[in-house]
């Protein structure tokens, strides 16, 4: 309620026609604050004012997730904050996405995410998903405790550019090489870049099991994904 009032006041004081840049800045702030009501309001306003919804998403909301991602990396924000920001982001996306022409987006890549079998620890993966969504990736989330065959089927069906595997347990991490092996057997290994992460995973382990990339945390994972996509485009 308080948020709504301040939002109305804001509009009264500053007039209806904020500049686009201002609106983007507001969206950014709302995501950073994890204020989902304000995010929805601002997204609706953007549509009303005829602002390009794709720009509103990328230059407004996504920028907010970037800031949160950096802050997490530096120990200034924590998981509760990122979860709330993600919630706000998805609120704005709900409003804006139906109005975005897919061709405008120049989506940079398709990413398939999942936590491997035996592991239900999906907070890390969920944070990653929101960061990837904000980065404009087309993200398909298989959830947690995902069996090797489910990864296999989804890869065949969805043809992602990147497969992102997460594990928190030493028992479940041993499922990762099996998934990569399955891809090899099915002749799909060359079609997808595989990145792995989670507490017990290291750069060494990623290399040992034949993954293409490793990230120690969600913010880093975005950089790695972008690097892998570039590689993939060059190879194709």
């Amino acid at each position: 309620m308080h948020n709504f009032i301040s939002f109305v006041l804001y509009r009264v004081l500053y007039g209806v026609n904020m500049g686009e840049e201002d609106l983007f800045g507001e969206l950014t702030d709302a995501v950073v604050a994890g204020d989902k009501d304000r995010c929805r309001g601002l997204a609706e306003q953007a549509l009303d004012e005829g602002v390009d919804p794709y720009r509103a998403l990328m230059e407004g909301c996504a920028e907010g997730m970037n800031i949160m991602s950096d802050r997490y990396d530096e120990g200034e924000a924590y998981v509760p904050d990122i979860l709330l920001s993600a919630e706000a982001l998805y609120e704005a996306m709900d409003v804006l996405k139906p109005h975005i022409d897919v061709e405008d987006t120049g989506v940079s890549g398709k990413v398939l995410l999942g936590v491997v079998e035996g592991d239900i620890h999906d907070i890390g993966k969920n944070v990653l998903k929101s960061i990837f969504d904000a980065a404009g990736f087309d993200v398909i989330d298989l959830g947690r405790d995902v069996r090797p065959e489910q990864f296999q089927e989804s890869i065949e069906k969805e043809k992602p550019d990147i497969l992102g595997l997460s594990a928190l347990m030493t028992t479940s991490m041993t499922g990762m090489p099996k998934i990569i092996e399955n891809l090899q057997k099915a002749g799909l290994r060359e079609r997808v870049k595989v990145m792995v992460g989670g507490a017990p995973i290291s750069e060494d382990y990623a290399e040992k099991i034949g993954a293409d990339g490793y990230a120690p945390n969600a913010p880093r994972a975005k950089e790695i994904a972008e690097k892998l996509l570039k590689q993939k485009r060059e190879e194709d």
């Binding site: 120990g75 924590y78 509760p80 979860l83 239900i120 907070i123 969920n126 028992t171």
Partner: protein, 356 residues
Amino acid sequence: MSGEMTSMERWKNLLEGNPIDRVAAGFDILGHTAIVNGYEALGDFYAKPKVSIGSQLKAKEMYGYDQPPIVISPGYGAGEWGSEVELPYRKAMGAPSVTESVVQNKKDLEELEVPDPSNAPYSDEFYRTVELAIEEDSYPLVTVWGGCVSSTAPMIVDMETFMKWMRTDPDLCEMALDKSAEFAIKTAEWLVDEFGADNWIPVDWLPTDANVLIDSDTFGELVVPRLKKVHQKVLDLGLPMWFTHWCSDHTQNIEAGHIDEIPMGDPGAVFFGPEVTMEEIVNRFGDSNIVIGNVDPPSFQNKPQEEVLKLLKDNIERGKDSPKGFIASCGCELPPRTPPVNTYAIVKAAREYGQY
């Protein structure tokens, strides 16, 4: 090799502050004991008292490490509340998983009653496991878990909901933590009534209180008062000490001074993850606590024995002379599928590099 103390002599002397022949070896070796006993999955180990205690005692004897059996309720501190728990009967699972937390919203939480530990789901199995361990005279470490985020989310409240409440409705977090603390205290009282206070040691685990998830301010405000209460009440029951696993990265909680505030007994035993350097642990906590080693867990699973031995040697050399004693160990649960010779490396390293 002869002239060595037995494991039990070494362990008790360590806890009592008496001199021992060498550093003690092994801590948090759990699921691995089922694997070396031939169980393909860890389901029976977590579900069945006999399997749990039997596997741990046999593995301890085979390797020659010193850690007594650790008891965790098959309800995992979650089933007791009515949350759904999947026991690890699938090979890919490393521990029980909470598949659905009983509290999804505010109303659920408000209506949630604190269970009677002697009568809650899984209490019979839990009781039987403690009883078996005590009958075997093995001086077990019994999980008494409450007042912290780790015993509450996702055990009682869904994890994401709890994390969001921290910012939107901290009152609800406090309510959940209070209920969890009350349950832990009641559990300890029940166990002391049944078994006394001189044949088991309480242990608790704090993974989701770590600073990869929450900031030290939140920990200080929400968790510290309740964890303090639980620890103090249990010590007041006559139990000598706590073993506490500050799992994952608690560096900010250390810096903020929160960990010093938690009563651990005299001495207590602190078990940090590899994220904290051994020097810092010894300097900061060694005067009043037994220090437990913290070699990187995945290395045990993935590296050859000579490398694991090197890591252990380094860790032992830094921790060995900590005033209240040292236990050579992996920095979290030993990966269940660790090659046995790497588990044995803990004992070997303690013998080779840990003599006093």
